[in-house]
């Protein structure tokens, strides 16, 4: 299978940095007392951050010059400050220079699925890489 993965440790500092970078200061994402008052164990990771992580995952895998064409994601369960998430992609199709991938975000510590279904289409710049992917597609290896 043509799968790729990356882990992100989402520390309280990470959440504060993301809140600042997106001009989103909702207390749910950084204020532990506010979260506790709502029965939550810790501040919640802003769901939109997973879009950024999945885009980074896909572009990192696709290599220099790649262009993300589309991305979709559905939130399945909350992730809390201090947890580590694992983002995984799997190639499902190659059409001309555009590669389709299935994506998911999970919390390895307890197997919780945070984002699924999700997927993206990315345009690859590397002709060699595309040729290799097409070969894998034709042999059925990508779909396992």
């Amino acid at each position: 299978m043509m799968a790729f993965t990356r882990d992100w440790a989402l520390t309280p500092s990470t959440l504060v940095a993301y809140a600042g970078a997106t001009w989103d200061w909702h207390r749910l994402h950084h204020d532990a007392a506010y979260a506790a008052g709502r029965g939550l164990p810790a501040p919640i990771v802003d769901g939109q951050m997973f879009g950024a992580l999945l885009a980074e995952l896909v572009l990192g895998w696709a290599g220099p010059g790649a262009v993300l064409r589309s991305l979709h994601l559905r939130f399945a369960a909350p992730v809390y400050a201090g947890e580590t998430v694992r983002c995984t992609g799997q190639v499902t199709a190659v059409n001309l220079d555009v590669v389709s991938v299935d994506l998911r975000v999970e919390v390895p510590a307890d197997g919780r699925i945070a984002v699924r279904p999700a997927g993206a289409e990315v345009g690859l710049a590397s002709a060699d890489r595309l040729a290799r992917l097409r070969l894998l597609t034709s042999t059925g290896e990508i779909l396992g």
């Binding site: 940095a17 600042g20 970078a21 997106t22 989103d24 200061w25 207390r27 879009g51 990192g60 979709h72």
Partner: protein, 155 residues
């Protein structure tokens, strides 16, 4: 429990347009890239491009005053009694990378509302919105279809 009232239904089709008060900026792009753990070189330097989802995630263009919870982004301010609001998901189309020198104009449209039932049997109102992002030259940068869920809470 009926969530989709006639008053709410009348909101379908509503539009709000925001134009950022300044350029996106190279520092904002580098800051966002750092926050999501990216070291890609195209996000740094004097004239970087933005990571694709940045313009869909930032509230920089909205210019809204933070509410009591600290939120300063776009919202429809819908009143759906007896529910809690959770994010459903997003569907992004990327047409052209935003650049540091771009000034965003974002058009939000409340495109639909549907009443459904969660897997746990709770009533919920599914609100779908579409945001279209353009720069000061009128170039289409991205389209974001966002789903918000107003899920009924036990009385």
């Amino acid at each position: 429990m009926k969530l989709l009232t006639e008053e709410l239904r009348a909101e379908i089709g509503r539009e709000l347009v925001y134009t950022a008060p300044e350029e996106l900026g190279a520092a904002s792009i580098r800051y966002f890239a750092l926050a999501v753990g990216s070291t890609r070189p195209e996000y740094a330097g004097p004239d970087p491009i933005a990571p694709p989802t940045l313009i869909c995630e930032t509230n920089q263009y909205a210019g809204r005053t933070p509410d009591a919870d600290g939120y300063a982004g776009h919202g429809w301010d819908l009143d759906v009694p007896g529910t809690r609001l959770v994010r459903g998901g997003n569907r992004y189309e990327f047409h052209q990378p935003a650049r540091a020198s771009d000034v965003l104009t974002v058009t939000w449209r409340l495109s639909g509302m549907d009443e459904r039932v969660t897997g746990a049997g709770q009533a919920m109102l599914v609100v779908t919105s579409t945001a279209t992002y353009r720069n000061q030259h009128g170039d289409l940068l991205a389209v974001n279809t966002e789903t918000l869920l107003y899920v009924a809470v036990a009385a």
